[in-house]
Structures are given as C-alpha cells and as structure tokens.
Amino acid sequence: MRGHRPDLKWSDVTPKHVFMNRRALIAGAAGLALAGPAMAKLAYSRSDYSTPDAPTNLEDITSYNNFYEFGFGKGDPAKYAGALTTDPWSIKIDGLVDRPGEYGLDDILKGVSLEERIYRFRCVEAWAMIVPWIGFPLSGLLDRVGVQSKAKYVAFETLLRPSEMRAQKTSALDWPYREGLRLDEARHPLTILATGLYGEEIPNQNGAPIRLVVPWKYGFKSIKSIVRISLTDRQPETTWNALQPEEYGFYANVNPEVDHPRWSQATERRVGAGLFGGRQDTLKFNGYEEVAGLYVGQDLARDY
C-alpha cells in the first residue's frame, strides 16, 4: 500500500510491560471508587514472602511517619511531603559497579516485575505496623548494574532538596540522610526497593518514588526517596549511627534481647490498634528468622 511507512521498528510497538500496565490500570479502575484519590494503580503479583497478618490501615500508614526531612512530628510528613517533586527522578549508581551512571526511574523499573510484599515494620521507637509494599528485590537491580567482586557494602542516600524538604533547612540531622547494608543483606530476597503501597504508587510521606525496605531491621534502615546507591568495599557511614553510635548501630536488626540504651526493645505497640491495643512481644529479626544465617558467628549484642 502506498501510505505504508516502512520505517516502523519493532521498538515502536507498545512494549509488553506497558500494555500489561494498561490492563492493570483498567482492571484497577473498577476498584478506584474505593481507593479515593486517583493514584496510579500498579500491576503486581502476590508473594510467598508476605505475612498473613492483616495490614495496618492505609490512613494510619500514611499519617504516622518518621521522615525527618519534613519535620520531627509524626504528622509532619503527611502535612508537608506534598511539596516534593518525584517526577522526574533518577538514581545515581556508582562505586564498585560495572555500569555506573545516572539511571532514570523508568530505566530502573523497565522489565521489573513488581510484587506485593506484606511485611511487618518495626520502628526503633518500639511501635510496629503491617505494611503492604509493592516493590522488587534489590538484588535484581544490583545484578543489572554489575557488582564488582571487591564490593562488600551498599550505601544509599536520600534526596537533598531543602526547597522542597523543609526540615533540611535546619540542622535536625546531618543531611542528606544516609543508610547502608552489607552486600549479603542487600542481596537477601527479603530486601526490596518499594515503589508502591496498597497497590498504588507510594505516597510522598512514605518515601516516594522509591525507597528501601529491609523488614528484619528497625525502620530507620529502610531509607526513603533514594537518589544514590553506591557499592563500596568499606562499611559506609550512616546517619543515625554517626549521630548517636551507642543508640543506633549499623546493623540495627530487630532484637528483643538487645535494648536501646533508653528504652526496652522487648515489646512493641501496634499502630492502629486503638486506645486499648496494648503491647505484644517483639520477635527476633522481626519474625524473619530466615535471615539468621547472615549473622552466624556474629555477636549481635556487640553488632547491634
């Protein structure tokens, strides 16, 4: 036919993950009336790593946050994180990797299959939640950028943008927020990068557009709004550990036997349980016993 354009390539056809997303979007539209504000529905599969516990309410998960970039108050992130621009977003991946560079979020998510991971979440302040994250294993991303054999640790950094993250104008913490994991912890299948919550894009106050989730460690390890991932051969400096080393260790594994110097870690209160919710026992590794093998031969009272 005359009007035929011969310069169409295969790449001009809608890629599979995009049309799969569209289907999910249409399927999701049915449930949208329930969900309230129109956040983008994500396509995801369920995971055997999820806990059978009932998740905490979306309202509670999104209104009770520690995200000091927006203030010290638990309600501050919900109040002020709306100012954060999360699109465009990129992550600088550098250090001991084969393919360093500035990766756009789209690049990072290309070809990634998202999973729902319903995880227990235990804050170092002795409160806990059950959070239905949507994300993907960090190990997959590490494989794609090629981790060099000398690398032993992964360091992470949160965005530094005082114009949008109001508390960064103060010296509340040593900005930007930094966290880190040992490489074997980072590669553990439980460790994910989350981009969603309750089946939708993750709200800003929970660390949009992409955050770490390490369910067997205290919440402060699960760094939010990540803009940099560096592979290093030395244990990276992490924000809370540098600020108060006796109180916040590099490992920060949930451990009822090792108390915070100022309060007990033996028990926790479930957020959303109401006025008479009471307490429950905290579980070692937050109940994720399968990670115990990572710490064989290590004294967890010393490496807290």
């Binding site: 638990k74 509340a172 100022r262 006025l275």
Partner: protein, 215 residues
C-alpha cells in the same frame, strides 16, 4: 497602673473555676482517643499531651512568684489550684503510660522505672509532687506552719527540673520543643536566684547604712 487594675480584677475572680475547667482538656483528650480522633497512635498522643499539660502547669505555678516580684502581678490565690491540676495531669500521664502504653507488661514497666533514666526521673518528679498535693490545703499549712510549709514546697523546684529533663531525655535527635520547656524552668528558677541576691544585697545595705530613725 495596669498591674493595679489587673490585680483588682484577680481579686474579684474566684479560683474554684480552675477545678472545673482544668480537667476538661484531659477528658476531651480521652474522648478523642476513644473515638479514633487522635490518629494512628492515640496512646502516644495522650501520653505526650498529658505530660505537656503537667509540665505547662508546673511552669505556670513557678511563674507566680517572679510575676509578683518583677511585674507586681498577684496571682497567688490561683497557685494552689494550678499546682493541684499539675499533679492531676502528671497522674493521668503516669496512668496512661502504665495502663495503656505498657498494658499488661508490669514486669517491663517496673524494670523500665529502675533501668531507664528518663522514666526514673519522670517517676521521681511525680513522687516529689505527692507530698505537695497532700499539703495543698489550709489545714496542712496551719499544721506545718508557714515556714516549714514553704520549705516543703521548694520540692517544686527539683520536680520541675526533673520533669523538663524527662522530656529532653526521651526524644530522638535535638528537637527544639523540650529545650524550650527546660529553658523556661531554668529561667524561672534563675529569677529566684536573682531575686534572692537582690534581697540579701538590700539587707546588707540596710545594715551598713543606719536608718534615720536609729541615729
């Protein structure tokens, strides 16, 4: 003068409404907690707010004497009610922690009182208030005598300091708020030192320069 007019107004106002109005925020707080209006963690919210009320009332009570000395305002008749309400909120704060926060974990609660310095000093501050509230009535003042009663009520000073430190000690990092309260307590105690210095200086001066009538 403004101070005179205010004092005239204070003389007309009774102190008893403080006992009616004072408990209302606490009742309102518990009502909100029970109906889900305090957000995701009502226990923490009530704990925090009752503690703040107690600390604010202690500071208000501490302000009465300097206000008289430095501004000429006489609020003395309200001080007892302020003190008793401070104790009530400290008690509600302690109850919230023991019953709702710690729940049935009595062993951990008792262990925390001994082992956790911020809880230890909070508990100490509360215990210091007990003899004060027990003697906040006319009969106790008569029985003890004004001098002994006043000395006993100096326990307010360490109680206020410990309460403010209790707040500073429990927070993560360095938020401003607890330090504002600690600063207020230190400031109000500092004013007493200043006033005492001024009093003893004028007494010395009085002794050095004989008064005209004595000459």
């Amino acid at each position: 003068m403004l101070a005179d007019r205010l004092n005239a107004l204070f003389r007309k106002l009774p102190a008893w409404p403080i006992y009616i109005v004072g408990p209302l925020p606490g009742i309102w707080l518990y009502w909100q907690g029970a109906t889900g209006a305090l957000g995701a963690d009502p226990v923490r919210a009530i704990e925090h707010q009752t503690g703040l009320y107690a600390l604010q009332l202690i500071i208000a009570g501490l302000a009465v004497t300097p206000l008289r000395g430095f501004a000429g305002l006489n609020l003395l008749k309200f001080r007892r009610a302020i003190g008793i309400m401070a104790f009530a909120y400290a008690g509600l704060h302690l109850f919230t922690w023991a019953a709702l926060d710690m729940g049935l974990y009595w062993a951990q609660a008792l262990g925390d009182i001994v082992k956790r310095p911020y809880i230890t000093i909070g508990m100490a501050a509360f215990l210091l208030l007990v003899p004060l509230v027990a003697t906040s009535n006319d009969r106790a003042v008569r029985r003890l005598g004004a001098v002994r009663w006043r000395k006993l009520h100096w326990l307010t000073y360490p109680a206020a300091l410990l309460a403010a430190l209790h707040f500073v000690w429990l927070v993560k990092a360095w938020p401003l708020e607890p330090f504002v309260y600690l600063g207020a307590v230190l400031g109000l105690l500092g004013l007493r030192v200043v006033a005492k210095g001024a009093r003893s200086a004028s007494r010395r001066k009085g002794a050095a320069a004989p008064s005209p009538t004595a000459s």
